[in-house]
Symmetry: D2
Subunit: 304 residues, 4 copies
């Protein structure tokens, strides 16, 4: 169970089957510094073009198609004191005729206080003079090489993960991705200091991070979509447009999970989901939207 | 500030401009017993056909078009010990080809323990033998007479409210509806003992209730969509299909609210929403879906 | 088979169960003059508020719930020389960020040459100086009283018909509506001199018309959605958002029609539709969008 | 203006930046034989796995990012006498609860009569014994290498083209793709003997073809989405889900084209599109749906 400090020499704007930048054993831990969504590092130096430059790929020994790659997000520390957002709601999250009055989508700077664990606007904005938000780190874009030799832009997401922009993908959360190529080929980047549901201004507070993840292989563990777990919940992810389809993917994946691992038939799964499910709208901005389907662990039967 | 005990002699399956069944003063409280979604009362006697028979309309003196009707949900008590659900996920919340394998949409009975405040399946279901859910009452369908002489089915929802099936519409929550006709003409019914996000089996635990609401008029308070507040949050509602459009309505209404009452311009509103908003998928089953846009009160500036 | 000249004394902005303005026998013909979408008559005199004021309702003797009302559009003649449109694409038919640059949605006047059967802009527009379009009359909004006591705005549409804005609903076309109340209660209005697919500026060339329809009752002829026939095609209509759901309704209704009347099973219906279907996007502007599913009559087997 | 006979030695299931299989001059013509969607050749021998194996890429000299690749579809001849379809409507094109009754999605064989130019079912199907459809060849999947190093599955489509499954992409049609990499890197395959709108059984009549295309470079001709022209119409394409967004892309691209090449401002473009546009639903089956926006050439002003 080694720990690797991984310093990329190049970055990727697509998730695809590239030569590994790092090769690790099943169960190893990786510590790596990510650029922000625009490619700026901890010193504000631009190191890569956009969108969302990725560290990786990391080859995990023993991972084969049909397995799952388990990613435990161990720690996330911002590596600089500023992040940035867009200052306007995205055109697609308001009524179409309301778009005419939206402000331009310029950048705004935010101050990150790492000691206090807070985030605030750098310049005062009328009415928000006292706004102090908690630092709530999350990984915007991560996943594995997709199937079929595809190379998918880090602007979007699909079955392999990618740019899901989900605020619960932070420290303490475990995520599983369906492995499509030998070694899984894991990528990560585009972390946020905080982000609301939906990423409705098109950004969280975008900044550079040091991220620690532990990567493991679960053999013969087929899944169609990413799955996750926090201390309280199990979670499935659907990536698609419209939100309706993303929700269909996430709900179907959860029904399958309940069948596979918890021995529920579809009637039992329907009862449990019908009265206890929670949905999160992770992002409603990227080319593919992301919906998370959550179920409290305390209602689950014992795992088979 | 009188309290009226209101016992309907007829029920409505549409929200429209009908002769008032009760006439009250601004600020009065109403206590009334609602049927379940299929029209059964506290004794299991069917008193009305479906869908979602409504108590009302209640005429609130002083309410005029352009005002808002404020509805404080004071208390909700189930009036019987059983409720029912459908036993299968709805076809529209799973991947289309997955529908082929769904179970039939038959009714299942649940036990409501009013003393313990719990809900559980009446017959054992494999894997859910120990499932005990909290009693979490909510009003499925309520609202006011719509504009233009429309009469809108209680199966669906729109700007006037209606069948929104949102789990946060329970005791302690205040809701505002845009008044379209003199007296507002308030209707309510279709309460649930508990319901998950999205109402994805097409029902919550459907049962009869005694509901206490306090109704007030806020003069010259234009809004396009229902608004609400809990102890922690302010909330706006959008009703439409697909979820994307419901979210657009709710987000636009929230941006307008922040401008009107909190003095934020659209840049400030974008910053606040972008990093702090929460969305709930209230229902993804009814003809119009419902999305709620929530914002924590602790981040709001003082109200003007 | 009488012919009635029907001159309304009042107009309706909802389709609902109102006292009949005219009572006719099964098979009778009605000639009536409709206002434009904004309520202006053949003299440009405003006679009603919007949206889409309707002539009617017409009670057709013998029509009962479960029957179909057959509407043959016999003739449509504009009653004045001008019509109007909006001058800008609607915000919802272009990419959201493109909305920022759209022109204001002001009115533009068009000249209708009834002798030549043409339509052209009244004021020259650069690049369109020579644009002459054919007069292509169609009924924007028509249908029957909906079920359940609903009264549905003429801005939108549903199973009962309503504001479908489909360019093939012109002279020579026959339309069937599902009857929900005794007498069917037929309404019509909002005719256009011409309109492109989708009604993407939010209007056709809106003007007043004299319309001749023959109304007949087909007993025990259940249908979920409006159906139609032209000389070449049979057509089913779906009204909903998004377009995907409107298409689902229309396709399902067509599959049912092929089963009911043409004796095809679902495999045969799938083969025929799969290789020969045509879809029209009737409107992508109104609260409910309208998709038409068309099938050439020449490929149909004999009707049972 | 040479003519090249191109016989692939390998096939691709993604459109991406691969070493050229053929290198031609601007204006050259290519004759090539394509496999069917499942990889079967003119002898029914399987030569590649699915989905939609592509011939190519073809490097066109002089093509650079920012240019357009012009593809004239000169001729398409089926190379065998049979094709195949799926026998059931796809789950996503009917009402969700209707899916429960759909037949299994098995293959059905069709007979192609190349002398007569007709297509018919190989085995009699009750009610369709006399169904004879015209041979109407079209290319299901073609396009260029996408930007950013992406490699996009031939199951789907995007700005670069891909699996659009549009029935008007047949002989006589010219298509323009936005060039993203040097040489454009053109791919083609997946041709159909006929297909209805929407590809609603998930296939046209899938078979192998000999296809003749002439490829030309138009310098500094930026476009966001594929464009096309037939004898009668100019056409723009949008690829996305839901249909609403595909339509937004296509409409926006058409508005831009009218501004760029025909000198119309957005008011004139709105007038012309509003009253004369036609939409085709090309496919409503693939991961990205395809909508075509068409405008008759006879209404266009002279090209600048």
């Amino acid at each position: 169970m080694a720990t690797h400090r991984f310093t990329p020499t190049a970055y990727h704007n697509v998730l695809g089957t590239f030569p590994p930048a790092l090769r690790i054993a099943d169960g190893d831990t990786v510590v790596t510094r990510t650029l922000d969504a625009a490619g700026d590092d901890e010193n504000g130096v631009n190191r890569s073009g956009g969108p969302n430059p990725m560290n990786g790929p990391i080859f995990v020994e023993g991972a084969e198609p049909g397995d799952a790659l388990r990613v435990q997000i161990v720690a996330m520390e911002p590596t600089r004191d500023t992040g940035w957002t867009r200052q306007a709601l995205a055109g697609n999250v308001v009524d179409p005729e309301f778009v005419r009055g939206l402000p331009p989508r310029e950048r705004t700077l935010w101050q990150i206080d790492r000691a206090q664990g807070t985030v605030r606007l750098q310049q005062p904005v009328s009415g928000l003079e006292h706004l102090v938000l908690p630092l709530a780190p999350m990984i915007g874009c991560f996943g594995v090489a997709p199937s079929l030799g595809q190379a998918i832009s880090t602007a979007t997401s699909a079955e392999h993960g990618g740019n899901m922009d989900y605020r619960r993908f932070g420290p303490g959360t475990t995520v599983w991705f369906p492995v499509a190529v030998p070694g899984a080929l894991f990528f990560l980047g585009d972390a946020h200091a905080i982000q609301g549901d939906g990423e409705i201004v098109g950004t969280g507070v975008e900044t550079s991070f040091e991220i620690t993840v532990t990567l493991g292989v679960e053999k013969r563990r087929p899944m169609n979509w990413p799955r996750a777990a926090t201390a309280e919940d199990i979670i499935t992810i659907g990536n698609a447009r419209p939100l309706d389809q993303a929700l269909q993917h996430a709900t179907t994946e959860m029904a399958r999970w309940l069948q596979q691992d918890y021995g529920l038939d579809l009637i039992a799964a329907s009862h449990l989901l019908g009265q206890a499910v929670r949905y999160d709208i992770a992002n409603v901005f990227d080319p593919a939207y992301t919906v998370a389907c959550r179920l409290p662990k305390r209602y689950l039967p014992a795992r088979r």
